[in-house]
Symmetry: C2
Subunit: 243 residues, 2 copies
């Protein structure tokens, strides 16, 4: 009988049958100090590439913890090819968007600076840590990379021909979700603006792009974090792996 | 030309042509102290019943502020008849669920105690204040009432015959959104469990109820707050006022 580990950790090392690895000092402290695990305890590990593995704690020191992979408990899953572009807003709401994007199966998380974005920099490492934590919590084997902050104009200027762009247009009233049509397996990205929306110039440019598909998120003005979750939900339900 | 007020306040008083009202001490302090508004300034007011009104600040004291309604700027809107039942979780995530439910147009917010809910009490007034703030921010004219904490078993025991119950069942794999069928204008409720889900007894009871419609929220394990936003989105999109 397999004992399923309750503690789940993201690691950077390769995972595979019989593979041993040392945890980072922080993770060793968490596992043996905070969670008080002793040698012999089972821990679930994933690295975003090799699926999830049940691993045995073979050395449990305060600063050093060594684990040995016993068996694979989940195959590696790759989410549909959906990217989320969003304009960073207040700290907790930005953290929240990253957490929810990881939970809802975005393949890549891309902060963008728009005309109405105040943020000039982001803490990419901190946001990446939020994506890792969301994956640890939710039993995911994949962790979406959080990209560096880019300017929206540059992103749109280099938009790849084969990727559709889902634009949540607050002014759209009819055929609200008509834009969410396509074949399963296509490349998509969702674009969520900051509180206050996009500038007129941005809207004009977005509407003129061949890649753009517009949808409405209903008659209410949604906060940016709500809009991100709602758009990810509608996309996964219509074109992603929810059906 | 009407000057549209940027500040938007929820008040309890009746609103109508020529109607005057005094703000509470806290709101007066916010308006004149924090936001430094002077007599003559315009403020948008709503009370959940009479739509939104543009009102002029006619007396601007530190502890007293008197406003006079000038004209209605939005008619009163009533959202579709959708209730959200959810199990309170950690403080910030519970606050978040209430905020998002108000934003996404739930008509009523009902915290429930399930077998796996740790919370034995909630701060109903604080949660209600979050719903008010969400409505203020998002330009809504309606504020969903936040009910007192009830036991799920009691709620299910008295379930009204004419209200469908949307149950987000993690074990459902096929026909994931088949449960989301119905006529526009019907009465519905969404039920979201705590982290850790429902007990076996609760699941058995829910599945046996005539009112229950089951849906799946995809192959990932979602946190309770994410599940609430996703379910509200799918319902509004399929049966609510998003289409």
């Amino acid at each position: 009988m397999t004992i399923k580990a309750k503690i789940r950790l993201y690691v950077d090392a390769p995972l595979g049958q019989g593979q041993s690895l040392s945890l980072s000092r922080d993770q060793a402290h968490y596992l043996t100090g905070v969670m008080r695990q002793k040698a012999g305890a089972m821990v679930a590990l994933f690295n975003g590439r090799d699926g999830e593995w049940q691993a045995e704690l073979v050395e449990a020191g305060k600063r050093k913890a060594v684990l040995s992979c016993v068996e694979q408990s989940k195959p590696q899953k790759i989410p549909p090819d959906l990217w989320l572009y969003f304009a960073p807003i207040k700290k907790t709401r930005t953290d929240f968007i990253v957490e929810k994007a990881a939970e809802l199966g975005a393949a890549r998380i891309c902060p963008v600076q728009t005309d109405f974005t105040n943020a000039e920099r982001i803490r990419q490492d901190r946001l990446q840590a939020h994506a890792v934590e969301a994956a640890e919590q939710c039993g995911e084997t994949y962790v979406p990379p959080v990209e560096a902050l880019q300017k929206l104009n540059a992103v749109l200027g280099n938009w790849p021909e084969d990727r559709k762009l889902l634009f949540c247009d607050e002014t759209l009233v009819e055929d609200a979700t008509k834009g969410l049509q396509g074949e399963v397996g296509e490349k998509w990205a969702i674009l969520i603006g900051p509180e206050g929306g996009f500038s007129d110039a941005e809207i004009t440019r977005l509407r003129a792009m061949k890649a753009t598909r517009s949808i409405s998120l209903g008659p209410r003005v949604l906060r940016a974090d709500t809009a991100a979750v709602a758009a990810l939900t509608l996309w996964q339900n219509a074109l992603g792996d929810w059906r």
